[in-house]
């Protein structure tokens, strides 16, 4: 039997009933009488200077209530996750840096009127020469997006002496990899509604971080943070794409100006054009090993095209660099990662945060090395895998909860029975193969403080209210946090309510990103619960006539700790006797019910109210060497994919994926499985079909008919497995899982394709055209 009642239970998600009934309120579902509808006029040129905006014709249109331009932004007119470089509305005389930059805002009585009025606005733009190639953008002679130049950030990591170590390597592989720009593809486009009540501006929005949103709104509207209340509406997926500001500030401006409720909902195309994307990367990687396959050295340079604005770019590329070694110990490392501005669409955070790009490179390298040395892909990984006592490229010592080896072993064992049975060998033109890939992922923001807070209130009747800033974007954080509180108090899930992501009520919990909320907000809720529990335990101790540390919480009761099997037996006998006599099983030396204990707390004037906050133990990274402790803990995973390649059509079908993830502790196993299945599917798209095609700054794949995400027909059998290498600093040992699930998938598929047809791909996605071209190349060479 589990040592826990609620932890490790696949309880149903708290929001599931409202969602299956269609009652969950997404931002686009919100309606107020007299509400206005907003539209944004956007730039159609990728680089230029806005000379003027003529709104006179549009303003004269019936139904148009207000039109705002750059001069109407009272505050900083800038937003950004890391660098405040993105204008809310481009001002006259200022720069346009990408297609989609906002030039004017309209609020009208109907959406159709607002849309019509857009066409009547005339923007005079002086066109500037653009730059779209990140390598060219790094040259001094390139057109500059910013006065400081186009190289936004450089992250260096230096450990040992890589150049010297390569001299000692028996085998070295060196390869350039290219990964494509991709789209988050949440099914709900960005949406929000704003309303001014007295002096408080309330904004309901689809978001991953209400507290960040409120700060951006307040600074741009030049109002106090206390006057801005951002409430997360039900959010139809995020995956990193709802971290940036979309509708929030625009809605705030319009609601303040008109003093009417205003709604802004993006169309799918508007969403694709304006949301940040996954960074396309150029990765040059050189990896060397000795004859036994022990990795000795790595050199790596990474160029990430962050487009027109920084968004999470520098953080993303830092993560790419920090994770470039893969989950392996390498003594000598030299890594440089460049975040470069271009006039392309902005790239920012997307599930995996720069690590899927790195994984595609390092996992291909591992297979190439193994082949050269003559050992199996599994062996080379086992020989080099991080373990307790390993030191990472940033010089961080891993003390415990290093589950990469168990994931390798479990995945390999499971794959043996699931994949490539004798009868399953491909026929004729269809070739089958399997490929392995592993990953590691630091939980939380890289080398930065990123605390989360929570309040927990144990109410008079023994039910609990949790207040947390943590945005549940579908991953189930509300449920996870409720399970943690229910476990702490010995109550049922039905007895817990979670109010999340409302800046007017809940404390800041940071972003629902970086796979951080189970670990960080989970800790915050546990600490808050324990503060409230302390009062309860002290009161129960008095009632039971023992010291507080002698009292433990059971199911809706507090009892004297039983320290041996014998006393447990006696306790049970006594309770049985009491029950037989029609008495409650309580009393001095025994137990007291939660209800009675709470009544006693109140009679003594004590509230059972706790607050907690948790900040992971990290240090910043040295700017020259990248040395430091970027994360408090890491998740690990291994996936094996089985593919069938049609050598006539070039099509790749992924048949099965075995995916094993070390999550520390699965608080809700079904939700963890859901993350694994969803992540593998997103990874499948990344590997095979998904690509945001951009030509001269313009997105060509601007709808879901041309941007191809996996459908139910495309997904393989996914076999999820969970490894629990307990993290001592995590809530009940938990770490995180959201992003890791996608990270190894593309590399596993690419390695499987190599196994099937002997062709090595170094560029994503693996389209039929690319497969056929490579096969043709080989044929021509024969």
């Amino acid at each position: 039997m589990s040592e826990y009642r609620m932890i490790g239970q696949s309880v149903k998600k708290l929001d599931a009933v409202a969602k299956v009934l269609g009652k969950a309120q997404f931002a686009a579902d919100i309606y107020f009488d007299g509400m206005l509808y907003a539209k944004v006029l956007r730039s159609t040129v990728p680089h230029g200077i806005l000379r003027s905006v003529d709104v006179s014709k549009a303003e004269a249109m019936p139904g148009v209530v207000v039109i705002l331009t750059g001069k109407d932004v009272p505050g900083s007119n800038s937003t950004g996750m890391i660098v405040k470089d993105e204008p809310v509305l481009v001002k006259n005389g200022e720069k346009i840096r990408k297609i989609g930059d906002p030039l004017a805002l309209i609020a009208a009585e109907t959406e159709a009127m607002a849309e019509k009025a857009l066409e009547l606005i005339e923007a005079d733009i002086e066109v500037l020469p653009p730059v779209f190639d990140p390598v060219a953008a790094m040259e001094d002679s390139a057109p500059k997006l910013y006065a400081k130049g186009n190289v936004l950030a450089v992250r260096k990591i230096r450990k040992g002496d890589a150049a010297a170590a390569f001299q000692r390597c028996s085998v070295v592989v060196e390869q350039e990899y290219r990964t494509q720009m991709v789209e988050h593809g949440y099914i709900e486009p960005e949406a929000g509604v704003a309303k001014l009540d007295g002096e408080v501006l309330t904004i309901w929005v689809s978001t991953q971080n209400t507290h960040f949103d409120a700060k951006e709104v307040a600074r741009n509207l030049k109002v106090g943070l206390d006057k801005v209340r951002v409430i997360q509406a039900a959010t139809g997926g995020g995956f990193g794409g709802k971290l940036d500001i979309s509708v929030q500030v625009h809605l705030g401006l319009l609601a303040m100006k008109t003093r009417r409720a205003v709604k802004l909902v993006y169309s799918r195309t508007e969403s694709i054009i304006n949301s940040a994307k996954r960074h396309p990367c150029i990765i040059k990687m050189k990896t060397g090993a000795n004859a036994e396959g022990k990795l000795l050295a790595m050199e790596c340079s990474i160029i990430g095209d962050t487009g027109a604005y920084a968004s999470y770019g520098p953080g993303t590329l830092t993560r790419t660099a920090v994770h470039a070694t893969g989950p392996y110990e390498i003594e000598h490392v030299a890594i440089d990662a460049y975040t470069v501005y271009t006039n392309n669409p902005t790239a920012g955070a997307m599930r995996g945060f720069g690590v899927p790009q790195a994984a595609f490179a390092h996992e291909t390298q591992m297979d190439m090395l193994a082949e050269k040395i003559g050992i199996s892909p599994l062996d080379i990984r086992l020989r080099n895998a991080l373990r307790a006592g390993s030191v990472t490229a940033t010089g961080a010592l891993l003390k415990s909860s290093v589950g990469i080896i168990p994931t390798l072993e479990k995945t390999a064992t499971a794959a043996k029975t699931i994949m490539l049975s004798e009868s399953a060998v491909g026929k004729n033109a269809k070739k089958r193969g399997i490929g392995i890939s592993s990953m590691w992922y630091g939980i939380g923001n890289t080398g930065l403080p990123n605390p989360a807070g929570a309040y927990v209130n144990l109410l008079d009747d023994g039910t609990v209210l949790i207040l947390t800033g943590c945005a549940d974007i579908g991953q189930g954080s509300d449920t996870t946090l409720a399970q943690i509180a229910a476990e702490e108090f010995g109550i049922d899930m039905e007895d817990v309510r979670v109010v999340s992501a409302d800046t007017g009520i809940t404390p800041d919990a940071g972003a629902s990103s970086a796979s951080r909320q189970t670990y960080i907000s989970g800790n915050a809720v546990q600490l808050a619960a324990r503060e409230a529990k302390k009062v309860l335990l002290e009161t129960a101790a008095t009632m039971l006539g023992v010291a507080p540390d002698e009292v433990v919480i059971g199911y809706k009761e507090l009892s004297v700790r039983t320290t041996s099997a014998q006393s447990q037996f006696l306790t049970d006998c006594l309770s049985e006797c009491r029950l037989d006599l029609g008495m409650a099983p309580k009393g001095k030396g025994q137990s007291v019910s939660l209800a009675d204990c709470l009544a006693e707390c109140r009679a003594k004037g004590k509230l059972t109210l706790g607050h907690g906050w948790f900040n992971p133990d990290t240090t910043g990274l040295d700017p020259e060497t990248g040395q430091g402790k970027p994360y408090a803990t890491y998740a690990f995973a291994t996936q094996i994919a089985e593919v069938e390649v049609d050598t006539e059509s070039g099509e790749i079908e992924v048949l099965r994926i075995v995916a094993t993830h070390d999550v520390g502790k699965a608080i809700n196993p079904v939700n963890v499985e859901g993350q694994i299945e969803g992540g593998c599917t997103m990874g499948l798209g990344y590997a095979l079909t998904e690509e945001i095609k951009v030509k001269e700054g313009k997105i060509l794949t601007k709808n879901l008919a041309t941007y191809l995400m996996p459908t139910a027909m495309d997904v393989p059998e996914v076999h999820p497995f969970i490894v629990e290498e307990r993290e001592e600093t995590g809530p009940f040992g938990a770490k995180g899982v959201g992003e890791p699930t996608l990270i190894p998938t593309a590399a596993a598929i690419a390695n499987a394709v190599y196994d099937a047809i002997g062709v090595r791909f170094t560029e994503l996605p693996l389209t039929p055209e690319r497969v056929l071209a490579k096969l043709q190349e080989i044929q021509n060479a024969v």
Partner: protein, 155 residues
């Protein structure tokens, strides 16, 4: 443009409304009738979030005019179940862990219903094919297919 009076059965109730001839079915449902359970994910028939059942067949309500429902029978997620009595598919979606963000869920449920009404015992492949017009970005479809299969087995 003059409005047109139409009459149809909506979630079991005879309903009469006056609509603009160009009004899309999804906009009538969401804006005129306040039934916001039907979602808009793309407005172009690519994502399936707006799926409703018209005479029992699943359709993208973003590609159909409201006037086309005249004299016909319409089912939206609001007519599928209630807090007190969930539809078996709704129960199964919850139990299987098929709901993450929930935005595709109403459309997915209605697609599933139209399949089971026609073919009460579909296999996993048939289920996948039938819901392939409904995109889900969170779940990877596995638990959605599990849920539908569960209902099929219990029927």
């Amino acid at each position: 443009m003059s409005k047109k009076a139409i009459s149809f059965i909506l979630n079991g109730q005879q309903t009469k409304v006056e609509v603009e001839p160009t009004l899309l079915l999804v906009d009538m449902l969401r804006n005129q009738l306040g039934l916001t359970g039907t979602k808009i994910g793309c407005g172009e028939g690519d994502c399936g979030a707006c799926t409703v059942l018209l005479d029992g067949k699943s359709v993208n309500s973003c590609l159909i005019l409201a006037v086309q429902t005249d004299g016909r029978e319409l089912l939206t997620v609001e007519g599928l179940g209630t807090y007190d009595k969930l539809h078996p598919l709704q129960e199964a979606f919850i139990a299987a862990g098929a709901v993450q963000c929930g935005f595709c869920t109403p459309g997915m449920l209605l697609s599933a219903k139209s399949l089971l009404d026609k073919n009460p015992r579909p296999n996993r492949k048939q289920i996948a094919r039938h819901i392939s017009g409904n995109l889900c970005r969170c779940t990877g479809y596995a638990k959605i297919i599990d849920a539908i299969e569960r209902v099929a087995h219990n029927q």
